[in-house]
């Protein structure tokens, strides 16, 4: 140990201690947010909030299969009863009319502040006469059966106004008194968890108690064993994905560590060397976690998953050090490879650095993690590790292997034209298929298996669950203002409904009008004396004499004195959940959501014309409504990602080229380094296309990493720009480094998490190909192997 080394060692130890301290405070998360954007537009923010916390994130779609319809219906009722008593669940709907009576009672009691028809004109003599005549006519209709008993209290038909508005929307089929699928083979329930999408632990617990409740109730039935539970929904996906990601990350880290350790033991034949070789890796991994933790506040499990690749990359530096600076090489060799490694580290940084600017949180974290990790690993290898080597440290001599590799390189050189032709062919294939290369669906990044998505789609379609594709969103500083804005938007939407442009809409203000609106309606009610006089005139000649309307007058005077309806009044009705899911508090801001429904029939059946909606919204411009097409928005979001990823990748490649141009100072040498990389990239893309894989942005990132990682090999083959082939030790160390990289990334290719699989499946083969192409395209004119003619 030299005196100069002591401060470096102390610095390193202090750094490691600090890292451990930070890591112990780091929050790790494995939810889906790594797959959601840091949304740049207001519309996209709504989309993301909805996916995270909105009603979509709290809805569980439940199916019961097996046995017969009667048993399924019985279990549906028992299960629903159990869940309704469980505080973990809000709404539990299975088709039983549990809320109907309370709903109707609430509507009836508060009809004069709820009904959109209430206005001063309606309570004039003319208005009353018209409304009463209409109610009398209605008695001739079958609908009259519903209204006749209420006529003395509600002669203007306000309750019907309210019921009409609630009706609509697709409802599930019924079987044995509960919801069932259209094919009649499943009973269906719709359950809302109290926990929102951002409370994954809460949702996980709720899903578990749903499963337990099902098992408990099913075991009480004679055919309980035949009955099967299906649960789907965003919460299920999120919870399952989290456990998949957690499990995968642990498994991947263990597997790749085991492979690399085995590989290193095989190479070094020395436990000391193994431990020393892992020091830079551990330091780098710690630094990466710390950088992400400090930079983002929270670390995604997916980043850790990606991070296992860092093990494969950072271990390379130690390999180069140990192999190329072995005693056989003497002191001169010790530093000869540093410039090459330095350049390799810098190209890798250029590649990963591009990712840091990604709006995709998982990628940005990966970029930062890798850069911090690589820099620290390289620095530790360069400045700490050499001093820790015990006297007489040696790993086994790899020269024989290196010599064999040299012969292989020469052999590969003879395949140069074949390989170049292959790469060209791959390029042609990719060009010919360029329309079909990319996957344009955001869903392609989803970690949800296709089978689970299919179950979800079937349940969703049978339940007629809201797809919430189109919605209007208004914001305000307080709940009542949000309701007022929802009301002014509703007025425009009602015109669209009347015109048949949309089938209907939901709004929290339908169930809970703003205080202002309620007071306006209340003020429209005449005092009892006045009303009595008007009724006498209004009912003249009608079959309903004013004398029967005393209950009406009583109800009106009660309504005039009643305080406006509040959210608390809705408790125990199905409107409570409706308002809670449509009127949301987000920090200091309130948001009202107004989902639109496409018309069921008519000229615009099943379609909503966004232009017509936007035009109508201009009439409510003061509420600053946002019209959101969730599907279009998620498509735009992904397209934005893809564009961004392409830009970033090109920028990364450009930075690498610029770096090489500066370092190598020779266009020919730059070309020589880039050619094998381009060939490797084209071959990998062609392979993926041939395998039927549509490329996502993660594949694109993988391609960038092939360039960043593979440039190391090309640089070694480039040597000092001369025509010398790399010496045997260098060749051997490159092979080892390549194997560890392939192992690190290759393991990801077997992950069931699509983002990890995409990167692994691209970089694993790509790194190997980059080495092969670099070897094949290398200039071997001064080939040291006898028997091979010089070029």
């Amino acid at each position: 140990m030299t005196r100069r080394f002591v401060p470096a060692l102390l610095l390193w130890l202090a750094f490691v201690a600090a890292c451990v301290a930070v890591v112990s405070q780091t929050r790790f998360t494995a939810d889906l947010s790594a797959f959601l954007p840091e949304a740049p537009t207001a519309e996209q923010r709504v989309l993301v909030e909805q996916l995270r916390d909105g009603m979509v994130s709290r809805l569980l779609l439940v199916g019961i299969e097996g046995s017969d319809a009667a048993q399924r219906a019985r279990l549906s009722r028992d299960l629903a009863g159990k869940l309704r008593a469980d505080a973990a669940f809000g709404m539990v709907a299975n088709g039983e009319p549990v809320h109907r009576e309370r709903d109707h009672a609430l509507l009836f009691t508060h009809r004069y502040v709820l009904s959109p028809a209430v206005s001063a004109e309606r309570f004039t003599t003319t208005g009353l006469r018209q409304a009463i005549a209409e109610s009398v006519d209605l008695l001739a209709s079958p609908l009259g059966m519903l209204t006749k008993t209420l006529l003395p209290r509600d002669p203007t038909g306000e309750l019907l106004q309210l019921l009409e508005r609630l009706d609509g929307g697709a409802r599930p089929a019924m079987q044995e008194g509960v919801w069932a699928s259209r094919d009649g083979r499943r009973a269906l329930l719709l359950v809302q968890t109290r926990a929102s999408g951002s409370d994954l632990d809460g949702q996980q617990a709720a899903i578990a108690s749903l499963g337990n409740a099902f098992a408990g109730e099913a075991s009480k039935l004679p055919s309980g064993a035949d009955l099967k539970l299906l649960v789907s929904g965003a919460a299920v996906f999120a919870v399952d994905s989290r456990s998949t990601i957690e499990g995968e990350v642990t498994r991947l880290a263990l597997v790749s560590t085991a492979i690399i350790v085995a590989l290193l033991l095989f190479i070094y034949r020395s436990p000391t060397a193994l431990v020393l070789g892992l020091l830079p890796v551990v330091s780098g991994a710690l630094a990466g976690i710390v950088a992400v933790s400090l930079g983002f506040g929270v670390m995604h499990g997916v980043t850790l998953g990606f991070g296992t690749t860092l093990i494969g990359e950072a271990v390379d530096y130690a390999i180069y050090l140990f192999v190329q600076s072995g005693p056989a090489k003497g002191c001169d060799g010790r530093n000869a490879f540093w410039p090459t490694i330095r350049l390799g580290v810098m190209t890798s940084i250029c590649g990963f650095g591009a990712l840091m600017f990604s709006g995709f949180p998982g990628l940005a974290q990966l970029g930062l993690y890798s850069i911090a990790g690589l820099i620290v690993a390289a620095l530790v290898t360069r400045y700490i590790l050499p001093h820790l080597l015990p006297a007489g440290f040696a790993i086994r001599d790899v020269t024989p292997l290196g010599l064999r590799l040299q012969r292989l390189v020469v052999a590969a050189g003879r395949l140069r034209w074949f390989l170049a032709g292959l790469a060209a062919l791959c390029g042609a294939l990719v060009f010919a298929q360029h329309d079909r290369v990319w996957n344009h669906e955001l869903g392609a990044l989803s970690p949800v298996p296709p089978a689970a998505q299919a179950v979800d789609a079937a349940l969703r379609s049978d339940l007629g669950a809201p797809d919430l594709r189109y919605m209007i969103v208004v914001h305000a500083a307080d709940a009542d203002t949000a309701l007022q804005r929802a009301e002014s938007v509703s007025a425009q939407l009602q015109a669209l409904v009347d015109a048949g442009e949309i089938g209907g809409y939901e709004s929290p203000s339908l169930y809970l009008p703003s205080q202002t609106r309620q007071l306006e309606r209340r003020a429209a009610l005449p005092d009892p004396r006045e009303l009595r006089e008007r009724l006498a005139t209004a009912t003249a000649g009608l079959p309903l004499p004013a004398s029967r309307l005393a209950p009406f007058i009583d109800d009106i005077s009660t309504a005039r004195a009643r305080a406006p309806l509040t959210r608390a009044d809705l408790d125990g009705t199905s409107f409570a959940m409706a308002v809670d899911s449509l009127l949301l508090r987000q920090g200091e801001r309130w948001t009202a959501l107004l989902p639109l429904r496409a018309p069921a029939a008519g000229a615009h059946a099943k379609e909503i014309n966004p232009a017509a909606v936007r035009r109508a919204l201009q009439g409510a411009a003061s509420a600053s409504p946002m019209f959101i097409d969730m599907k279009g928005e998620s498509g735009r979001l992904y397209a934005g990602y893809l564009r961004e990823a392409i830009t970033l990748s090109l920028a990364g490649v450009a930075a690498i080229v610029a770096l090489l141009a500066i370092a190598l100072r020779s266009p020919r040498r730059v070309m020589h380094v880039l050619l094998p990389l381009a060939a490797a990239v084209l071959t990998v893309v062609a392979g993926l296309v041939l395998a039927g894989v549509a490329l996502t942005i993660l594949h694109l990132v993988g391609l960038l990493l092939i360039v960043a990682v593979g440039s190391n090999y090309a640089l070694f083959f480039d040597g000092r720009g001369g025509n010398d082939a790399p010496p045997p030790a260098t060749l051997a160390s490159m092979l080892f480094a390549n194997l560890t990289t392939v192992a690190g990334f290759g393991v990801l290719a077997f992950s069931s998490v699509p983002v990890l699989q995409a990167i692994g499946g691209t970089v694993g083969p790509g790194a190997l190909l980059a080495l092969v192409f670099a070897a094949a395209f290398a200039r071997t004119s001064s080939c040291p192997v006898p028997g091979i003619p010089a070029r």
């Binding site: 088709g95 001739a140 209709s141 079958p142 609908l143 009409e164 409802r171 019924m174």
Partner: protein, 200 residues
């Protein structure tokens, strides 16, 4: 003469007065059994008729009257098109009931409304001559002879009986002439049916 088919229609709010000419206790004429009636009804695959319906409601001083057309298409499509006092169309097909009134349209699944469903379905079943469906919901009593019969339906389900006391359907051979519905609250409705044209 009423084309039965035509008359086979109907719906929730039908009704008719009169009847009770033949009480349910009357013994079915040996020559005219429920089986024969059902067979006669079932022969008519489609039909069209006009109706005039009067509802006698305690809450009103005078009965409300409505009129329009009825159309039936076997096996399960029934339309009641009201022209007066306000246009309204009611279409029952399979399990779906849709009511259009002015600009408003209501779509209801019959099975969502237990009691009403049994009621509406029974009328349609009468028109279709579907005895099994009828017997599931009602006790049947037939009085009179082939030329002048009255079929009385008594709800079996107690919840339905809380709404409907009895339905009397009068007719001649395979044609319906009048449907009277007596409600538990004392209100009743009578629908007179007159077949239009010949249908088959």
């Amino acid at each position: 003469m009423f084309k039965a088919a035509s008359t086979r229609l109907l719906v929730a709010a039908l009704l008719a007065a009169a009847s009770l000419l033949h009480g349910p206790q009357a013994i079915a004429a040996e020559s005219w059994t429920v089986a024969q009636l059902m067979q006669a009804l079932g022969k008519h695959r489609s039909g069209q008729a006009t109706f005039l319906e009067r509802k006698y409601l305690a809450v009103l001083d005078q009965p409300v009257e409505s009129s329009g057309e009825l159309r039936f298409q076997a096996p399960d499509r029934l339309e009641k098109i009201t022209l007066k006092p306000r246009p309204e169309s009611l279409i029952l097909e399979g399990n779906n009931l849709s009511v259009t009134r002015g600009k408003k349209q209501f779509n209801v699944r019959l099975s969502d409304y237990g009691e009403v469903a049994g009621f509406i379905d029974s009328i349609r079943a009468t028109l279709a001559g579907d005895r099994d469906t009828l017997e599931r919901t009602y006790a049947l009593h037939l009085a009179g002879n082939a030329e002048r019969w009255t079929l009385t339906l008594l709800p079996r389900d107690t919840r339905m009986a809380e709404v409907i006391t009895r339905i009397n359907i009068a007719g001649t051979r395979g044609l319906l002439r009048e449907i009277e519905i007596l409600q538990a609250d004392g209100d009743r409705s009578v629908m007179d049916i007159v077949a239009m044209g010949q249908a088959r």
